[in-house]
């Protein structure tokens, strides 16, 4: 009976994983399929992967994505960390208001955020790569704040006072005492901002303007035109990247817990 119970629970777990990952598995399998068909297995090939670098549309979108993702996540990390430090110093009441306001972009439907940002940008600037970066910063900042703030709150004010007491200027105290303490939070905030920006389709789609394509918007437009197995290969690579980032973030978290005991 006990054996049966265990077997059943493993089967259940297996089914959950199967349903969760089956679609991605199909994608990965098709990316190695030596046939244009979506249903027939034509043998193993790496040609779709090898074709990627010579495809201008894909490479162009890749570099656009990297530029947007890197610049927006770095800027969002700087802004979000500064914001967290500010919120941490605020009076409780004011901090609650700020945090509430920070929550709005997280809860808001992406499409609404996308449309409103588009309207804003068409009025005050033009749509293009720059407006996408701005939009990505806007939705990434909250993730950074929520990663950094708990680290700040668990840090005792006395440490900062001790640094000042020992002769540190406020800037020196920040780099030598505050930053090393909150760095794990800053890093995981950055990784989240990076992943969010990399993944985003909806907001990017509305704010990008003509001629600019990130990987996700490019995939969308290209897949509508017809079957291109190169895109499966690209999607597989994107999935792998996100997967690696996820493991990196979790691994950091696990390490930290061990140190704290």
């Amino acid at each position: 009976m006990k054996k049966f119970k265990k077997g059943a629970s493993y089967t259940y777990l297996g089914l959950i994983f199967l349903f969760l990952y089956a679609p991605i598995l199909v994608l990965i399998v098709l990316s190695f399929n030596n046939s244009m068909s979506r249903t027939v297995w034509g043998g193993f090939t790496l040609q779709w992967y090898l074709n990627l670098p010579s495809n201008d549309t894909i490479m162009d979108a890749l570099f656009t994505t990297l530029r947007i993702t890197l610049s927006s996540s770095i800027l969002a990390t700087i802004l979000g960390t500064s914001a967290a430090i500010g919120i941490n110093r605020m009076k409780k009441h004011h901090a609650a208001i700020m945090l509430g306001a920070t929550n709005i972009p997280l809860l808001n439907a992406d499409i609404v955020t996308g449309i409103s940002l588009m309207l804003l940008f068409t009025r005050f600037t033009s749509l293009g790569e720059f407006s996408v970066v701005l939009a990505h910063i806007a939705f990434s900042v909250p993730y950074v704040i929520f990663n950094v703030l708990p680290r700040l709150q668990s840090m005792s004010d006395a440490c900062i006072e001790a640094a000042m007491d020992l002769g540190a200027s406020p800037a020196y105290a920040f780099y030598k005492v505050i930053l090393p303490e909150i760095f794990p939070g800053v890093l995981s905030g950055f990784l989240m901002a990076f992943t969010m920006s990399l993944d985003d389709f909806t907001i990017t789609y509305f704010t990008k303007g003509a001629g600019v394509n990130t990987l996700s918007t490019m995939l969308y437009t290209e897949l509508r035109k017809g079957i291109q197995p190169e895109l499966y290969a690209l999607s597989t690579l994107l999935f792998l990247l996100a997967f690696i980032m996820l493991i990196a973030t979790n691994f950091k978290g696990m390490n930290k817990k061990e140190v704290v005991r």
Partner: protein, 355 residues
Amino acid sequence: MEFIQYDHVSKSYGKQLVLDELNLYVKENSFVTLLGPSGCGKTTTLRLLGGFEKPDSGKIYLNGNDITALPANLRPINTVFQKYALFPHMTIAENIAFGLKIQKKSKEYIDDKIKYALKLVNLDGFEKRSIDSLSGGQQQRIAIARAIVNEPKVLLLDEPLGALDLKLRQSMQYELMKIKQELGITFIYVTHDQEEALTMSDTIVVMNQGYIQQIGTPEDIYNEPENAFVADFIGESNIIEGIMIKDELVSFLGVQVPCVDKGFGTMKPVDVVIRPEDVELGEPGKGFMDGVITDCLFKGVHYELDVQCGQYEWLVHTTKYFEVGQHVSLNVIPFNIQIMNKPESEDEEVMKEND
């Protein structure tokens, strides 16, 4: 001008007045303890000197220089914090070197200083250890080492032993006194523990509700409390309302007892303070009043007795055992009767009622 001077310093947080026109002088090389219950303003007084708070009004002078507006990092003063406040991501050596690196001292100088400081706090060879691997007492010693390597003119200690257990606290008291002697600098110490204050200080400043109640040597404070608050806060006391009939004669609880105090006037209401260890118990009828033992607790060094005399219950410390229900007489030699003026400020009165 004195070494450290608070000149009419006031400070409030929001609507709450924490310090009201505080004036305080501290001599160079002294060990001064600010003593009082929580919320009395002692920590604020210390933080004002450290530069972590700015007074609302008044000035603070160090060595004749006005340091009121000087930020904490520019004051020749270092602090040992209650919760150690060590930097968790640095080793012990890096923690101690923090201030010296800011002063851009040479590596040899810093290494020497770290060695010296660790030796002084009895933690030789701990340079490479991490903060996490230390006990509370060890962490506090590192915090002391980190402060003193900078050779401050004044060391501020904010309840540094508050988080330690009794035994460790006592041994740290002796170590602190030793360190003080070795360094020859001014220590300003904040505590609510009267025993700590009595053991270590040259001068005790008793504070309550933002006012200084009494300044004096530990002996003065204990033996000659100036008001009921001080008497009650320092050690245990029998505080009884009485009337000073004339010089050297006081009346309380319906009896007249000779004392040694003069100059209170005649028929003046006063508070009479008698320490529990100064009350002598004898056979009924042989003292100034009789009573019944209502409680007897063993406290190690002595027994703690409650003696009911009419309406008043005396607290008495004695090394002899008495049965509950036993009839005894109470006696006090005139020298051990301390007469105090009735409290004049309302705050003192409030404190007394709260206790």
